[in-house]
Symmetry: C2
Subunit: 366 residues, 2 copies
DNA sequence: GAAAATTTGATGTACGTAAATCAGAAAATT
DNA sequence: AATTTTCTGATTTACGTACATCAAATTTTC
């Protein structure tokens, strides 16, 4: 049997009330007594039963998610995952609010972070823009002991507690490596399409891509970076211009969003030499393009996993408990036509029949 | 506030005791009363507080993991992950026992399954061998209402509740697609190295690989399948023979284990034409070979994720509650030299200081 | 060495559910 | 209508922790 607070009391030779004072750092315990209790705690290997503690506290975790607004399938998918988490709130004891701010606007983000701070939430998750003002705003939250987690794009130099997102340098390197090998002997320049150099994830992807291309595939010239602001309409115009200007183009690496525009531009480009296209984030559009052969590789981060991980980590940070590092690693998923997962509709297995504890007869629908 | 059993009682106009009888399907409730209660339950949207219920029940989940024994890095890694889960037992309320049986031995597996059944565990996870006897043994467990989960290799035709593993047909297809594209213009036959055709995961990988190779890359002849029994020593002998017999070989797909032997054989093969090598499972050996350029791609399934998912699913099945399908999808990870994750040592972030609920000062070591 | 301040103990209630007991009410059977 | 059987209500204890209150013991201060 796992030791309880009573066992601590007995082991330390003190009363339950004193154990409670130590465990929950209440005042009024002499240092000697506190040490006696703490020694007993790790002597008998006590670990607080978080479930029971939360029950007693009627603990809820008010969390704030700050996401960019705008017409961006990936971010809207991310928001949908947060909404799905809101649906699980009663079970997970969370109270999640979503705040959207204009994309690539540091001032708006700072305002949102400061507004969140006023409400003293148990944690804040934010898709960060890399700027000193944003770093300062994040550090203000941390100064108030509010855990902060960066989502998708990190914020180096800040005091944020955790980053839930992929290794974007590795993503860029992977894209370059696959691009180079897929192109094989073919020659021709390669275009890189980004959203904005203001966000760290885009910069890191570019750095990784450029490093591997210049080192391992110097035969392919990199065309000047195109910044499409993650906006499908703008992306389409810009890509069309690039394709017209460089008809001998061999590859395109789209490291940001707005791929709808990229795909539209590619579709209008008939009877020309094949282009190797690598894009980020699996959406209905990139999925269709992958199946249709317009895109060769999609690099993806699972938004659902990111959101669930973010919530787990923020709750753990709020409670001051450790997180399982391996579990919270966000994988860079590589999709080609052949390993596309089925589109998931309703994604629960074996719906729960209220009030039934019976083992189900069967349930095989993976 | 989330509704409780008391709210059900009030809403249905019955007593708490009756609500309890309905919720836990105890005898002695008239059908009309039961229906009245059930209607009240979904009218007010009651969801059982699993944490409180487990607390009241002092519930523990005895689980059995049946794994193949033998000198196989992947399986030993899987076992290590189960042991790690045993370390978390007090927190997760599990009581896990590990049973190892000789690999590719259906009779031994059946015996282990039947032995597990005697102990009436809350769930059984098994790395399945595809055979009618094993299917029958699994179905005997299910007949006793014991949830069964197949791990790594599935068991079609059985009544198993869930499969925790990757889509192996997609894995084979992915390997073929990458192989074909990496080979580019180069010609030459491709060798396939398997463990045994007795396990379904190996067969499915082969099927997927073969399908894409013959359809999209008919220029490459597939050499006869080599079965190395996942045994490094045997694999080394067999691969050396193949390399000697077909010096013009262009690619090798190792879809099973025992890659230590493959790597050793490749190392001994000096100054010959480059071979594109795709292998499964990231171990210290394949990782080193990937970094060293001996292997081009490693397809992987995260053993830690598989084990944690298996435990979550078995607990859910034992309680008859729904599982989050998306969360339990085991990803096929594709590793090339450029996206190898850092080797994880101790994998917890911010060790918990006993008895402290304080927010930590900082913690940035991703 | 007495008063004041601090520390400790004892005890009770609460969180939401499970499980048991026993008395009483309502049905079904004769 | 009386009896048996089945169903329902009321109440209590428990799980492990949090939190509050008040009394008693100990230490500190003057």
């Amino acid at each position: 049997m796992r030791p309880t607070v009573h066992d601590i009391a007995a082991a330390a030779g003190v009363s339950l009330a004193t154990v409670d004072r130590v465990l929950n750092q209440r005042a009024g315990v002499r240092t000697v007594t506190r040490e006696k209790v703490e020694q007993a705690i790790d002597r008998i290997g006590y670990v607080r039963d978080v479930a029971a503690a939360n029950l007693a506290k009627s603990r809820v975790y008010p969390l704030v998610f700050i996401l960019p607004s705008g017409d961006n399938s990936f971010m809207r998918g991310l928001e949908a995952q947060v909404r799905a988490a809101i649906g699980r709130s009663p079970v997970e004891r969370t109270d999640i609010s979503i705040v959207t701010v204009p994309a690539f606007n540091a001032d708006a983000l700072v305002a949102a972070l400061d507004a969140a701070r006023e409400k003293f939430p148990a944690g804040v998750a934010v898709v960060a823009i890399d700027s000193p003002d944003v770093i300062a705003a994040v550090d203000r939250l941390r100064a108030d002991h509010i855990p902060v987690l960066t989502l998708v794009s990190d914020l180096a130099g800040s005091k944020r507690d955790h980053f839930a997102g992929v290794d974007n340098i590795a993503a860029g390197r992977t894209a370059a490596s696959l691009m180079g090998r897929f192109l094989g002997g073919r020659s021709g320049p390669v275009a890189v399409l980004a959203g904005s150099m203001l966000v760290r994830d885009h910069r890191e992807r570019l750095d990784g891509f450029r490093a591997v291309m210049t080192e391992n595939f110097p035969g392919h010239v990199l065309l000047p970076i195109v910044e499409g602001q993650d906006d499908p309409a703008l992306v389409e115009r810009l890509v069309s211009q690039v394709l017209a200007a460089s008809p001998e183009i061999a590859g395109i690496y789209s490291l940001g969003a707005g791929n709808r525009g990229l795909i539209a531009a590619l579709k209008r480009r008939k009877n020309a030499a094949p282009v190797c296209v690598i894009a980020h984030e699996l959406t209905q559009h990139t999925r269709a393009a992958l199946n249709g052969g317009l895109i060769d590789v999609v690099l993806n981060q699972d938004a659902g996993h990111e959101v669930r991980s973010a919530i787990r980590v923020l709750k753990a940070k709020a409670d001051g408990v450790a997180v399982l590092g391996a579990q919270e690693r966000i994988r860079l998923e590589i999709f080609i036509k052949d390993n596309l997962p089925f589109e998931q509709g309703s994604n629960t297995e074996m719906p729960f029949e209220q009030g039934s504890n019976q083992a189900p007869e069967q349930g095989r629908q993976d």
